[in-house]
Amino acid sequence: MSLISILLLSALGSVAAWRVGRHVSSGLKHVAALLPIALFACFIFHIEPVASGGVVTDTAAWVPSLGIDLAFRLDGFSLLFALLITGIGSLVTIYATSYFSEADARERARFVFLIHLFMTAMLGTVLSDNLIVMFVFWEATSLTSFMLIGFETAKTEARRAALQSLLITCGGGLALLGAILLIGMELGSFSLAAITARAPELVASPLLPAVIVLLLIGTFTKSAQFPFHFWLPKAMAAPTPASAYLHSATMVKLGVYLLARFDGIFAGVPAYGVILVTFGLLTMSIAAFNAIRATGYKAILAQSTVASLGILVMLIGLDGPVSSVAVIGFILSHALYKAALFFCAGTAIHATHITELRKLGGLAKHLPFTAAAAVLASLSMAGLPPFVGFIAKEYLFEAQLQSSWSAIAVIVAVLVNGVMVAVAGAVSLRPFFRGRGKIEHVHHGETPGLLIGPMLLAILGVVFGIAPHLIVDNLIAPAAGALRGSPVQVSFSLWHGLTPMLGLSAAVVILGIALMWKWNEFHRAIGQMRLVQKIDADRAYYRVVDRVLGTARATTRWLQNGDQRRYTLTVASSLLIVAGYALVTGGPLNLTWSGGEILPFPAIILILAIVGCVVAIRSTSLVTGLVGIGIVGYGSALLFLANGAPDLALTQFAVETLVLVVLMAVLVRLPTDAPKTRSPRESRIDAGIATIFGFLVFGGLATMTAQPFDTRLSDFYGATSYLEARGHNVVNVIIVDYRAFDTVGEVAVVAFATLAVWALLKRRRAGKGS
């Protein structure tokens, strides 16, 4: 299957699975999992050609005039992501279906639908070659993850976390768009492959610093790097299957994905690597620290995810040939064990309705297989042999030792990995094995659907560790090669001999066991540190948000005080200032008196309009005032008609009539006499502004009409209207054909504005009725 048809299948399939899933009986509820499994199979068939060095591409035109095509490209690196996305997506679908087995079928189908949409967006992001297309999918992942985090809409905490993640990731998305547009301006192309090929041009560009900063903001927000590291743990308010998907395999790794893609492009910019390593080290240290401090089961896992993301960012920043292999190995092993651990956490929380890790204990009796999977996954996380996590960690240290970085990076990495070992122990041993008898009764047991995901992933962690040749040539080497831009020799195996890396691994394990031993003491000590309580990125975030909202409220109160006259006054005087400035700087007024005779018909209409104005001003009755305004409106329509603009006149007549009809409905509810709310002084100011405004419009119009009229545009339309658009009415042809896209936009504006008013009116009615 071509890449575009795979994406189409994914998008249409999610909708189909949703509609079907709402109605299937419980025996067939797992049918939705067929979609990600089918997609996974599609990508399995792509392993062979990609591993032999091929690149699959697929292109369709989208906006050719702007250089934006639906261009997709599958190389080793995107294939690894595609397999993870669809593979873990399948397991998440199965798990979620069982997790929500007691929920309403519609609710369950909605959740799975969101998961599938999210999967589609992820796939699109990693398959896109065109950066604009990638950006669209990138934002789609932010939106769908917003809906997933806030899935339980009744929970305040979930809504807050969802909004926070949306603000941060979409704010970062804007920065990313800026970077993409700058690249497009500089190179004239949005194709990632073309940009990689022309990297030296980009590096030499004066825009380079801006591009890098914007790109880093975009990717750091997505991948929860310092200083945006706080949203990810909050996002644990999502149902656990979503957490497993969002925070293990996929979304948060998108930032890493893009950073890695650009690593090759910015190879000639030393600062890029330095920034990545610095922020990676900062993030992993903070997250490791917070992991010890955290109390919730999922919160600890989330903090360790942030630490892992920091490790990945650091690895990308390192120079040296091993770093790309280390990145790939770590992405794979982390996806396997972290998703498995989230599944196990979900099963434990689901079974006990307890989220605090401290209150859990002895669950192995009730959930034996989940406990086994948790142990296997956490051993891989701890980086012990013979698990794949061990190999990944060996590569991590090798990449560090090979790079030009000082010992500080290595020391931080050892410390953080030590914490990871302790976390691995804490999340598997504590809830399942220690504290026997703490939990007497569980609400739900294990079901096959809840087990298949964690078991499979945990076992794969061992299998890939013992038999790495299964994945080395098929996955790891092509992916690393795609990152480096040249084929890479990978010796991915358990035993590398007595190397410095082995020594560091041993140090990590010893440190981790010591930490695990004294976990409670550390936990308490860090929790009581004053400094830690003071520095809280989450609080800083809310302070910023509150400030923004406060400013918005203050300006709204100031500008929108509810007095229509004041609005009109503001608009009129601003226009006066702007137009007056233009008149003054535009040279002397050019008022010419043509000296022709006064035409009787327009003169009569104008006199009538003046009468209408006087009536509108002098009348105290709102209805009479409305009629006065109406006379002015109909008068101008007649003038349009007399001057050869029948379309304009027709529209003006219709609008005037309808405005009368609508306003009458409002007016019948108001007192007939307008209450006097203006003081004499205010009235004088109003009159003054209105008079000056009238003179200004008159002067402006007179000046404009005194200029010779440029007829080129109307001549063009008149000449081509019938030939090209088959219409004699030029006005209509412009609206529906020449400028049809504008009209679509205007139609949308009308529709949305009306909907908003409609909704407001409804609310008022409901309040009155009760």
């Binding site: 379309d647 009809v661 219409g727």
Partner: protein
Amino acid sequence: MRSVIFSAMARAFFWIMLAVSVLILLRGHDQPGGGFVGGLVAAMAIGVVALADGVAAARRRLVAQPVVLLGLGGLLTIVSGIPGFVAGGGFLAHQWLIFDNGFKLGTTMVFDLGVYLVVLGGMLSLVFRLYEDAP
């Protein structure tokens, strides 16, 4: 406040105005008119019924919810652009069928119908709400 005379007049005017609105819509491409004005006139036609016989009667005349018409109209303006996209001329490049006797049919008609429905649905959704609310 029901008036038999107004009611009877409204019924007649309803059909006349509706016919006029369709006429304005159809002839719009070559003579003064088009979807926007047509939609306004059609909204007036129903609005007169709402004034004379009440909103319930007007809703019966309209059959569909005004908001549905609004959405349908928006959809039609977009759908009308797809044939051009498929034909390779680009989104909203309108396509025409020309018959031997000079009669022509184009996707502009679908587009204008969309504008017509948006204006009609939008105006009526407000008119109905306001009139239902009236004491």
